[in-house]
Assembly symmetry: D2
Homo-oligomer: 336 residues x 4
């Protein structure tokens, strides 16, 4: 941590600050310039409250040098996290394809889609049972019945299931669910993060619309602080000034997060774009950038989907896409 | 609602769409141009799912003309909502001043600050008991003990208290709290919005970092859909590319929301800027723009505050500011 | 164009508006609802000033249905534009690789880099002679001498050259330059756009930091309105709240612009990320998303580059990358 | 400047870096921690190229401590800049009111508006002669004839005139213009900044849509580097995700820029909001936040203005507003 002092700081206050820091086992190295004094702090600064120092009269600015996350930090955990789910693995060079409808609508629908996407190479099934909708008047999902139907589809295909949990009180209903999804709107719902952190189920954590990489990793840290290290990060578009697409897919997150963390990173091109015809090129870009997998909305009748129809692709389009994704992955690896 | 068709739409599909719409009591008025056909939909289009129409092959785009919120909409509720809380009122021309520390830290601290801000004209006391912190390792508040101390301060001063609720399961602990605050990170935590919507307590709803005006009003709508109409909207800065200030105060929200909704609008300059020296000018701007009130962090010892010290002002600075705010309000009214 | 009227519009004013529109050969189709009247305008609305209508007392909002650009619009020009430059072509399925240093620094430097990148498959050479730098005190390029050295490198390798023009008055100096680059900061410098629009040289137009797709296409339209249709669009990152990367690469622009326009689209991963280690994954993503080419900074000694060293890759890294890009392109095409 | 080294940096490279820095009269103070080494650089670091250091293999990050602007920096020029223009002064506690139409349209129009706004207390007249329009097909202003008419209005009222210059080659036409305006789209058109920097005319520099405070001050620095210190900064809204208003007025810029620079700061609420009914509350907020003045679009017939009608207010509305602004300013000063 670096503390930049104001010009001509009060001597007594400076003395106090240095004593307070050294009492906490922090070594202080001052750099005195003509117009600026800088303090370099050495030691375990994660215990030191930046805001507290920044509030002092004699301090102009405080800059952090170390990342504030530990469990999620690749520096302390250099090896990739690989998460085993049923017969499949997320991370470690596997291409995870999670496909399925926005909402579960009927047994027939979900089983049919599950069978189709499995045949095309999907490794997990997604489907919403509890749906966060921006309007209180819109369809909110089939709730526990939706989970029951997902389990039917799992039974029929063997695909592990991923579905969204919206509140800690719902945990008992998710007992048989393979992966708990935390939605973008709940990325900083700390009560929920703590709740899923007490389980031993993998958590698919979606990046919030305006969350920085550090915000996302701090939310992962909340889950991991509870003892659950099975966190899968998911980029699903950020909010920018460009409104032609629903959100802006931040493809750079793949190589950046790869460097900052050991957790797997998957991309959701369906929510990122909001438009079915953009899903294939964005999915291709994600694989070429090195993503560990994709979360793709597939619906057998997009025009009559109960939610997010415009961003769902058909099982046939998914089949073509899945083939191409495998080719691209092979091309990237061949060239190494 | 307006539906823009693709060029040369399939006749049969168009017929289907029109029949489907008229079956739902929607009148369809086509405007046929040389290169474009537009359908104007008339009737209660709030029941119609935009996304569903947008997913059709023959549709290029759908644009909403009516706002998707009803209870919060000034068009349907032209009179300002005025919310009575203890002896004070929010909205309807009153200047609400909510002041207090970021976190409750001790009985002495909260009572002393409460007495000071009351003397300067504060109409409510704020203080965090449950604190949402971006790091799981940072101080998370005194929890139920914090609420107990806030109630002591209320007893000592008569000021109603405002404090943040983070999860529906905490509701029983908030029985004696006057105003429930929903934080920016939870603005789209729909489980929490529904929970506070079942109470009859006023809710101070903070705008999310990247929430549009419509998003904010839809979240208010969630609370109101449960029967609780006592919603106070609070702008506390949005996330933009400018990082010199912690967030960017969107001052335009005051006149815009005034026009779109009948709910009171208050401004939190402390979180918007993150810096104590910016609080007074931003608070002044808020009053001059017509805000119903302010939420201001005041701490008797900012340099030793347990959180958000840099953005807290002293009781003395608050006293000077409160006087100036009343002067500005008078100047705005005199000129009318 | 759609005009949404306020409730209970003044009859006389409405009459005036309709007469004024029909006088301009616009047909007006009203859709009268209980709470809203909408006018659908049919005809060549590109002549109608939206702002003028929006300013009327009786009008609540005006929405455009047709895009405001014509020459750049794929609707009116369905075939891909292919631009011939020397022996190479941009667009139409070719993979254009433009490589070279941020700044031209010496004959030795530029010729050496040109030879290396040509060997690796580059199809054009880039290099800055006039450099827009955010500080007036930073190195601003070698000016005309820089162009002279670029021409030497062209002579040595046969690679066409691309370099930035900052002001219309510089045009005579660019007589032998193959492609004129207009920088992101000048994307809406209309005097410059008009100037390059009078030439017959291809123009590489970079997207501004906060330019929407429509803004970018309107700037292309400025150039094309002068008679120069050889415009190459270049995405180089947009400004968002995420500051870990210098900018945020908007990869969705590739499929979106492909749909909106017939002009070729290339990606500059060097400026988008600002970091050399992010250039390869972003370049790969761009090819997988369907981009027509890449603009990549290559420097033989990045640590001593006179500008933008951190984002330059070495000739060796470029060689590896170019191979992988060709593999990915083949993989995408094979799967079709 | 602070250099954060990677773990276990190569000794020889580190030695080289330190020698290179000390050769440039920079003192290097290392702070060696268990997991991190930091170098504090002391001396005139404005000569040191941050990017060059950041490109080194052994360097993880470089952070600037000193601002990169000098002439515009309050640290080196503590007194407010006050700019005399005709009989009026900008800065130093004056309330500058610049009013007038978006475009000059006729002698009658501009003289009538000039007379009206002068009577209401305007201190300068604005009006566009050369208009930057996003469409090449829209009205681009009356050009030199527009300037001639502005001079007529100046003759009639004595008000100094402000009008936009779009290219350095236009300078001779602006000989009698009092204040040169550089538009937001040209904020980083360095050729233009250099050109106006060679004159002795005051320059009203508008903040670009996505320019940080530092970007804006660096553009001012370009002008001042040429010897022209008469720069007036103007905030006119930034681009964010919120599209209800045309742009988002960043009101915090007033107190922030006041602290960073000695240059006067004015606010343009017309372009910031794009809507006439938002202009008064935003103008009031600007004065309450401490702005040195306002730039307001006033048109005698907004519904028939040739551009930007929806954001223009009438002379009558301007008169009411101007009175209220003076009251607010007095209220702010009284309370001190």
């Amino acid at each position: 941590m670096i503390v930049i002092l104001k010009n001509h700081p009060d001597e007594a206050q400076l003395e106090n600050l240095i004593t307070w820091l050294t009492d906490q086992d922090i070594q202080v190295h001052p750099t005195v310039g003509a117009s600026q004094t800088i303090l370099g702090l050495v030691g375990d600064t994660s215990k030191i409250d930046m805001d507290l120092i920044a509030a002092l009269d004699i301090v102009e600015d405080v800059k952090r040098v170390q990342e504030p996350y530990k469990n999620a930090n690749r520096k302390f955990h250099p090896d990739d996290t690989v998460i085993k789910i049923g017969d499949t693995q997320v991370g470690g060079g596997n291409l995870t394809l999670i496909a399925g409808p926005c909402s579960v609508e009927s047994e027939e629908q979900i089983v049919e889609i599950a069978r189709a996407v499995k045949k095309s190479g999907a490794t997990m099934l997604r489907g919403g049972a509890f749906k966060p909708r921006s309007s209180p008047y819109a369809f909110q999902g089939m709730h526990i019945e939706g989970i029951r139907l997902l389990l039917k589809a799992k039974e029929a295909t063997g695909l592990p299931i991923v579905t969204e949990i919206m509140d800690g009180s719902q945990l008992p209903l998710f007992e048989d669910v393979d992966v708990l999804q935390v939605g973008a709107r709940n990325m900083q719902n700390y009560a929920l993060l703590r709740a899923v952190g007490t389980t031993d189920k993998p958590v698919l954590l979606k990046r919030g619309l305006s969350a920085t990489y550090e915000d996302l990793l701090m939310s992962a840290e909340y889950i991991m602080a509870g003892g659950n290290n099975k966190v899968i990060l998911c980029e699903r578009g950020i909010r920018t000034f460009e409104t032609f697409t629903r959100n802006t897919l931040d493809i750079s997150c793949v190589p950046v997060l790869r460097q900052l963390t050991h957790l797997p990173i998957i991309i959701d091109p369906s929510h990122a774009s909001g438009k079915a015809n953009l899903v294939p090129p964005l999915a291709q870009a994600a694989v070429a950038a090195g993503a560990d997998g994709l979360l793709i909305e597939v619906h057998n009748d997009p025009a009559h989907a109960k939610c997010d129809g415009p961003q769902s692709i058909t099982p046939k389009a998914f089949d073509t896409l899945a083939k191409r994704l495998r080719n691209i992955k092979a091309a990237c690896e061949a060239a190494e």
